[in-house]
Symmetry: C2
DNA sequence: GCTGCCGGTTGATCTGGATCAAATATAAGT
DNA sequence: ACTTATATTTGATCCAGATCAACCGGCAGC
């Protein structure tokens, strides 16, 4: 038993109640007693490595997954054989909620760097949410939040130009890292330019050129995967757009 | 009391258990007894008319809404003053789930034609789902489904060209109408070309041109708002794409 | 019926960002 | 260090679809 403790890394074994992410994660707003009950059903697996899958498109749905450390991307195959990156997931973020409906995963989840992941068997969770109203509410909130984020992306893909998209992406990363106690202006990208472009509906070349341009304009510094945002407010101004977006007709219907 | 019955339209007063939509809607899969309990909390308002709002962006979140008859569009303001149409909602579809998280509506919902709407106070619903596990499951499924639909849209906006987008839109409408017992190949559009374009991330002119082209190619017949799909399988082939989508690099990451 | 307006169609032009092409930088082996 | 595979950058060109412009048809109000 002592042996087990030695082997397993501290960051993996830590219970929800001791986890620094609990305020961002499922336990948010639960009384300690209920956190304990949640803790009982969470499985903490050994760390996964770059390229490992949490699940693949088509897999039977059994569990939700929460990133504890590291990062994960989710992506869906497009019919022609390409793929659409659906999201990049940071610690505290929940993955797999889109699979509840069909009881099967419609997308795949791949680990971008060495990562610790919590697994939450959904049937167990469902039992629990029946008896813990605040946990049920939290689940509704998390599902709803995911919908909200998706609609933000729809707006981004439907109405924003390349520049605005990349600025929005950088700011989103910045803000999410900040919430996790990391620097909002100095971080490493765990995903490739390719993946960024795919996610934003842009060609790699466009992403690369924009990085260069943003750097020339003094908005940021780019060195390989290392990003420093030098002017957050200028980036924010870019996202809102100069009032033209993709310069599309701004119709009121 | 008899008087009341005379005034209120049959389609409005019909209880969930007698509603033809129950198999698509919240009551799906519930035992009759539980449907009864759900029924007790559903408010059935008088019909709304074209242009009426169910709710507006910024409104406090109180209820979910279900289209009983007619159709509704939801849309979010983009920062610059334009708007992004987020969806068109047909009978049996639930609106407002994105608002649970922030306890406020992030988008507006406007009625496209005279419509009957069921209102479900969310706090009451939450109480109910605590005691009816199958209803809770249904809620999870519905929220999850919404996420799945949004990711479908992300793929559409991120990877598909104009032709594929419009074909996908028409087929989606067709299939949803079919599920509701209506013709999958002959229907009326309750939204303008403008709204379709906005929804699909295309200019009005592009939508118009594509309608013309599809008609010339014998895929459909278009007369004003009246649509007849003549070759569903050809449209399906279009959606899948000729293997190129927006002709973007189909990278495996 | 007439008039004005709005939604829709059609044509001509323009352009952001994709595609094509090639060089360069990193990483991974061997 | 040397070869090979992969990721990123940079430059040149192309094109789908946006934008601009003009016109048309249906319908609401008078």
């Amino acid at each position: 038993m002592n042996q087990r403790k030695v082997i397993s890394l501290e960051t993996i074994r830590v219970a929800c109640k001791n986890c620094t992410l609990s305020s961002l994660c499922l336990p948010m707003g639960l009384v300690p007693e209920d956190v304990e009950r949640l803790d009982d059903i969470v499985k903490r697996a050994r760390p996964l490595h770059r390229g490992d899958f949490l699940f693949r498109e088509g897999d039977r749905f059994r569990s939700l997954y929460v990133v504890k450390t590291g990062s994960v991307k989710t992506f869906a195959p497009s019919p022609e054989g390409g793929e659409q990156v659906l999201g990049f997931h940071l610690p505290g973020e929940i993955i797999g909620m889109d699979a509840i409906d069909k009881d099967a995963h419609a997308c795949s989840a791949k680990v971008l760097e060495t990562s610790a992941i919590c697994e939450i068997p959904f049937s167990r969770l469902e039992e629990l949410t029946c008896t813990i109203p605040s946990l049920q509410h939290q689940m509704y909130r998390l599902l709803s939040k995911e919908i909200g984020q998706d609609t933000d992306m729809l707006l981004l893909l439907g109405k924003k130009n390349a520049e605005e998209r990349l600025a929005a992406f950088l700011l989103s990363l910045s803000q999410r890292l900040h919430k996790r106690g990391l620097s909002p202006s100095d971080f490493y990208l765990s995903m490739s330019r390719h993946e960024i472009g795919n996610y934003l509906g842009l060609a790699v070349e466009t992403v690369s050129r924009l990085f260069t341009r943003f750097q020339e304009d003094g908005l940021m510094r780019v060195d390989r995967k290392h990003i420093q945002l030098l002017d957050l407010s200028a980036l924010e101004a870019l996202v809102v757009g100069s009032g033209q977006g993709r310069r599309q007709q701004q119709q009121q219907t």
